[in-house]
């Protein structure tokens, strides 16, 4: 006999945005398969879906669903906004770029959405299981996205590297999780902290080993040195649009789980993970910034810069304070706009005949197209962290958080590496404004591209000049966790 359990449909409510996105993803597959003529509608459908989801998420009240497995709190909301933003911006740009490089797969958009759902789950994960599922749901479509452009030789190489390294990172993470589970007997992140406290496990070597594995796994995911080795190759090999997307969205989601596990699950171990992360952050900044100095490919340079930025974002995490995490969130929000913006200009340079990913291809951009050059200028200065751009506010907030938490030397290191980073960002500016053009092809802005670039500019400058509400939001988001 069927048990007559009362079906509580309201329980589904917190995950409605995710369900909506999945539905739209499925719908996109259907459209692609059965209405191939209407393919140009796919990006707009995707954007509309994402915007609806964004509205739903921003309008929702903080809740705990599925017995603590899914947390729709403010913390999740911030990260979800970042992830949705990364998808919206990339999708707006993709029509243009996919046409240029001849990437015609309609699956592209649905893969993007599925990956997005994974990220949203990660942001909301209140349980190690959900965390892992979200992580993989995010990663699997990206493996495919990286390798989607089959005509290009490099993509499959990038895809296999990303795949192997990603799976390896997941495996490390899982083993760490299994050890934490073994010691505490639960996978619920909030309970882990309680049980560590009540069972006095803080100094337990097995727990420390588990922590080490967890850290390694997370560092793989957010590309922190010395676990960053896959990043440059993958970022360079993937289609630029995918690189832009994956250098922001998945990284933000990675930081979401990183922060959640460390701050909610293992706060008592801060004495252990704080210093470790400090060293890793410095190493990451060093590797990212110094290696970026000698790159000839702009795409690869941006890849290294992405590594360096992971190092900066880590500053807030290692602080272990509410302010630190809020700073990391703020920074990632700004990073969303400036990094995708920079990649967007890189995409504009591409032509069907040549990928135009070298720094030389920027030469004389100011003469070819002053608007594009000016935008790139703003994004690059923001990446360097020069006021009045958002990049400065984000970096300042991070430095302040880490400094006040008691890591002054790390902060000084970060500042020095930040100065080094100016060198290679400036090189691009130099090439754009102070050299004669090598290419003559005119740059074309599709409507989506215009919208995306406008949003990025607005984000970078708006957050630079009026960061108040964002900071309030992130601070209150964290305190609600």
């Amino acid at each position: 006999m069927i048990a007559t359990v009362a079906v509580n449909w309201a329980a589904v409510e917190p995950i409605l945005p995710e369900l909506l996105l999945i539905t739209i993803g499925v719908l996109l597959i259907g459209c692609d398969l059965f209405l191939p003529r209407q393919r140009q509608l796919l990006p707009w459908l995707t954007v509309i879906g994402c915007l609806t989801a964004l509205a739903m998420i921003l309008g929702s009240r903080p809740t705990v669903a599925f017995g603590g497995m899914f947390l729709a709190d403010g913390y999740a909301m911030v990260f979800k906004t970042i992830c949705l933003g990364s998808v919206i911006l990339s999708v707006l740009m993709s029509e243009h770029f996919c046409r240029v490089i001849g990437l015609r797969q309609g699956e592209y958009y649905s893969l993007m959405l599925f990956s997005l759902v994974g990220m949203l789950l990660m942001a909301s994960a209140g349980d190690l299981m959900v965390l892992y599922l979200g992580l993989e749901l995010m990663a699997l479509p990206i493996y495919a996205l990286v390798g989607l452009h089959k005509r290009e030789q490099r993509t499959s190489e990038a895809a296999i590297k990303y795949f192997l390294m990603g799976s390896f990172g997941s495996a490390l993470l899982l083993f760490g999780m299994s050890m934490v589970y073994g010691l505490t007997g639960t996978t619920e992140i909030a309970r882990i902290a309680e049980l560590i406290g009540s069972r006095q496990l803080v100094a337990n070597p097995a727990l420390l080993a588990g922590l080490g594995l967890l850290l390694a796994g997370f560092c793989f995911k957010v590309a922190v040195a010395p676990f960053h080795l896959w990043t440059p190759d993958v970022y360079e090999g993937a289609p630029t649009i995918v690189t832009a997307f994956m250098s922001v969205g998945p990284k933000a989601a990675g930081f979401a789980i990183f922060g959640r596990v460390l701050f909610v699950g293992l706060p008592e171990l801060h004495g252990h993970w704080g210093p470790v992360l400090a060293v890793l952050a410095l190493l990451t900044m060093a590797v990212g910034n110094i290696t970026a100095l000698c790159q000839q490919s702009l795409k690869r340079m941006l890849a290294y810069s992405a590594i360096a930025h992971a190092g900066y974002a880590l500053l807030g995490l290692l602080a272990g304070t509410a302010e630190g995490m809020a700073a990391t969130m703020t920074y990632l929000m700004v990073y969303l706009f400036m990094n995708i913006g920079a990649f967007a200009i890189l995409m504009l340079l591409a032509t069907p005949d040549a990928p135009c990913e070298s720094i030389d291809d920027c030469k004389g951009l100011a003469s070819r197209n002053p608007v594009a050059a000016a935008l790139m200028l703003v994004f690059l200065f923001s990446l360097t962290g020069i006021p009045p751009t958002g990049g400065f506010i984000g970096k300042f907030y991070l430095l302040k958080a880490a400094f006040i938490a008691g890591y002054p030397l790390t902060v000084v290191g970060a500042v020095l590496f930040s100065a080094i980073s100016a060198f290679f960002y400036l090189r691009v500016v130099r090439f754009m404004y102070m050299e004669a053009p090598q290419q003559t092809a005119t740059l074309q802005f599709s409507p989506g591209m215009r919208a995306a670039l406008g949003l990025c500019l607005l984000g970078v400058l708006g957050l630079g000049l009026f960061p108040g509400s964002l900071l309030n939001w992130t601070v209150s988001a964290f305190s609600g966790m």
Binding site: L377, F381, I386, P408, A419, G468
Partner: protein, 501 residues
């Protein structure tokens, strides 16, 4: 005060600059006229500030206070005292002159140039008005971008090296200051308000750390020896307008920073570090002057002379008495006017000859007599001839320096002699001697150029003959500043301000 005058001063050029973007790129004439209009109006806008300024109080005036980033306790807080008001005037004036001198010198990317110039003006205004450390830092760094572009795009052949060097030197310094700001924030009651930060007693160790962090930013900007090496490169390669702004305003900001932050906030550290600072200043004076003697490049020579003159400024600052400080501030204005004028003049001649080699000139006095007259005046002002403004500043500084450290004043005085030597020698090489063959048939100065140079002449004599016009603004504010520094018990006679005719 219902009209936010200072905000208007900051944002009028910014908006004006951005409005240039609306004009189609090809219409360069319109763009130039608009830029001129904006900078002229900006200069006029400073007039109400000057007229309404109350010279009898050391309090900040025209203050504006709006919460900006409440999470971090950062406010949009503006205000000026007697010290900053002079710099506002200087900035507006120098920018106007820069627009004029760039009229024909800039052919390429005209739109971008004037946008950058006006944005730069807004940022400079902001630096002098900001009363919140964070806001100050934002303006301070924001100046870098347009300046980087101005030197890098419209500069001379070696411009890229120069501009990157300029940028990186400044950036490293600024970033260290940023760490210092955070440290100050942490220990100063979690505020960025400059006035609140000043009143507190920090431990000496903290003060020393902060002093060196600020030193990194300000000394690079001044530039003090030995971090001055970016200046000759930047000066040399920058377009005329860039050089004028660099010499006229930008390098004053370092000294302004010392005045506004290091001295009042870190009084004990300042007194501890007095001797090293004086030594560095004296080295800069003498070293800059000696290097000048060996220069073959016109702009480079002026650049090194700036190093030397700024040495006087820091000497005056760290003399830490009324005369020294007033002299230093006056000397900053003077230097801005004189060196600005020199760069303007050089820019004019460079447009005609396209060379900066001193040896390529000769006998210019016969071919361009009007120009020679102007240049002679500027040279004499730079040397510090009594009656010109240069004399007043240097005299006050030496007076103050002598009270604090006679040895420093003595060595610095020798710098004056060297200064006279290289400047007059320069004048001789360019304007007298044989008429160089390449200089035949140069056109005379046109009306625009004469109009550009005339205000400088007026200023030189006005300040030189009636310095109280400016010193009047300073007395109270400097006195208050000295109270802050000496409040911790520096022994020293508090002399009444010197009254000059």
């Amino acid at each position: 005060m219902s009209i936010p005058l200072l905000s208007t001063l900051i944002f009028f050029p910014v908006l004006g600059g951005l409005s240039l973007l609306i004009v189609p790129r090809q219409q360069t004439a319109t763009i130039r006229l608009m830029a001129l209009f904006v900078s002229l109006v900006e200069l006029l806008l400073t007039l109400p500030v000057v007229l309404l300024f109350d010279k009898t109080t050391a309090r900040m005036q025209f203050t504006e206070l709006h919460p900006w980033i409440s999470t971090l306790n950062i406010n949009y807080s503006l205000g000026i005292d007697g010290i900053s008001i002079l710099f506002l005037l200087l900035t507006a004036l120098i920018t106007l002159l820069s627009v004029l001198v760039s009229w024909e010198a800039i052919h390429d990317k005209v739109q971008e140039f004037f946008v950058a110039l006006l944005l730069l003006e807004g940022a400079m205004m902001g630096v002098f008005c900001a009363l919140d450390f964070f806001l100050f830092y934002i303006f301070w760094e924001a100046m870098l971008i347009p300046m980087f572009l101005i030197i890098g795009i419209w500069g001379g052949p070696n411009r890229i090296y120069a501009t990157v060097k300029f940028f990186l030197y400044t950036l490293v310094g600024s970033l260290l200051m940023l760490v210092g700001i955070i440290l100050l924030y942490q220990n100063g009651g979690h505020t960025f308000d400059i006035l609140k930060l000043a009143g507190q007693n920090y431990s000496l160790k903290l003060q020393l750390i902060l002093f060196w962090a600020f030193f990194a930013a300000f000394a690079v900007k001044v530039p003090m020896w030995p971090v001055h090496t970016w200046l000759p490169d930047a000066h040399t390669e920058a377009p005329a307008a860039g050089s004028v702004i660099l010499a006229g305003v930008l390098i004053k900001m370092g000294a302004y920073g010392f005045l506004r932050f290091s001295l009042p906030i870190l009084p004990e550290a300042t007194q501890q570090m007095l001797v090293p600072m004086l030594v560095l200043s004296v080295i800069a004076i003498v070293y800059g002057a000696i290097i000048c003697l060996a220069q073959t490049d016109l702009k480079r020579l002026i650049a090194y002379s700036s190093v030397s003159h700024m040495g006087f400024v820091t000497l005056g600052l760290f003399a830490l008495n009324q005369r020294g400080l007033e002299g230093a501030i006056l000397q900053m204005i003077n230097h801005g006017v004189v060196t600005g004028a020199l760069f303007l003049a050089i820019g004019m001649i460079y447009e005609r000859t396209h060379t900066r080699e001193i040896s390529a000139y000769g006998g210019l006095a016969t071919t361009m007599p009007v120009f020679a007259g102007f240049f002679l005046l500027f040279t004499l002002a730079a040397v510090g001839l009594p009656g010109t403004n240069g004399f007043i500043g240097e005299f006050l500084i030496l007076l103050g320096g002598f009270e604090r450290a006679p040895w420093a004043a003595v060595v610095a005085a020798s710098g004056l002699i060297l200064g006279a030597w290289y400047m007059l020698w320069l004048y001789q090489r360019i304007f007298f001697n044989e008429v160089s063959t390449s200089l035949h048939g140069l056109t005379q100065l046109n009306l625009r150029e004469i109009l550009t140079l005339t205000p400088m002449v007026v200023l030189i004599f006005w300040i030189g003959l009636y310095p109280n016009a400016l010193l009047g603004f300073l007395h109270v504010s400097v006195g208050h500043l000295l109270d802050q520094v000496n409040g911790v018990g520096l022994a020293g006679p508090v002399l009444p301000p010197v009254n000059l005719p």
